[in-house]
Amino acid sequence: MITIENLVKRYRDFELNVSLEIPDGQVCGLVGKNGAGKSTTIKSILGLIKPDSGKVVVMGKNTADMKASDKQNIGVALAESGFSGYLTVNDVIAILKNMYDDFDEEYFRHLCIRFDVPLGKVIREFSTGMKAKVRVLSAISHRAKLLIMDEPTSGLDVEARNDILDILREYLKENEDCSILISSHISSDLENLCDDIYLIHEGKIILHEDTDRILSSYAILKVDEETYGKMDRSYVLKEKKENYGYRCLTDQKQFYMENYPEIVVENGSIDDLILMLTGR
């Protein structure tokens, strides 16, 4: 669905250099701290910025050669950019109807009712959560094969975040072959949605792993000095000194559980990965 090969984009104080691959029908998460390069990567995929070098292929086409009609099959929700706040949702419906060949007005209206989105009020008077919902609904209502979501849950409370994720889950269920690329710095959002995760840090992908493996094989080991000294550390990816000894990240939880039953093992999470792999 999306292939990025050695995409390089240089700014004055930042350089992006990533490769990634999203197979058809896969839900892929892009996580990283603010300013790590998530938005730049997404903007390159959408052709909003032009790479200095490298290749970005979306649905079989180089982004540089992408035509307006190719974007009919993509649904986009961006964190800090949407329809003008001076429009109402009714206006948005009219625009989308004339923008996308396959816009499903009934579906859109149905979701608006379900999530209490007012149709006649100008968007700039909406709450943050409501604005985010309008953005996501606008992205999914033309049955796109590919959804690209940049921080769709950013700045929202737990409930609104959950609503957004539920909308996406339902969309996935109803459109079996669609793919999603979603970025977030709130990783728990992605743990129960994405098939695989790319961790981006300072413009580079530092980890790519199936979510399933992160949750089942990765773990935090809490080890005291003594055990740390005698323990086989071949599967420790990163360690941090703590009061009690060491905090270690491993991708072979089973190995340590079986061989060192005295070690405290905590299930891994994407947050742990970010903290351990990108922290100081």
Partner: protein
């Protein structure tokens, strides 16, 4: 079909899915020929990734509990009694392994653990 996922469990999520579907099949709650929810439908319901569900379905198929017909869905096979027995036995083994693991963590010796099991056997049977 009722599946409950424990996100804090040390048992990987796909294994939780596998064992619970197996139990449903063995218990007869999922009759032969019954279609399982689509990968994405079950993923959405359990709030887990589709790949996890797919992995679980693949392993169930490898073990002969279900058959996936491409483009149609995943169907329950006739519960094989031998398979069912092995599955139950495996579940017991897993539980005992967990218990023993805990015993070791608690600083019990092998003999002590054997003794506990012996006493429990006497009491329960």
């Amino acid at each position: 079909m009722r599946i409950i996922i424990n996100n804090n469990s040390m048992v990987p999520i796909y294994e939780q899915v596998i064992s619970q579907i197996k139990n449903e099949i063995i218990a007869g709650n999922l009759p032969e020929g019954q279609i399982l929810p689509s990968v994405r439908a079950l993923a959405a319901e359990l709030k887990i990734s589709a790949l996890t569900v797919k992995k679980a379905y693949d392993m169930l198929e490898a073990e002969g509990f279900v058959t996936t017909v491409h483009g149609k869905g995943t169907f329950v096979n006739a519960a094989d009694l031998q398979l069912a027995y092995e599955a139950r036995r495996k579940a017991v083994e897993d539980d005992l392994a967990n218990a023993i693991q805990q015993g070791i963590s608690a600083g019990l010796s092998k003999d002590e653990i054997r003794e506990i099991i012996g006493i429990l056997m006497e009491e329960l049977l």
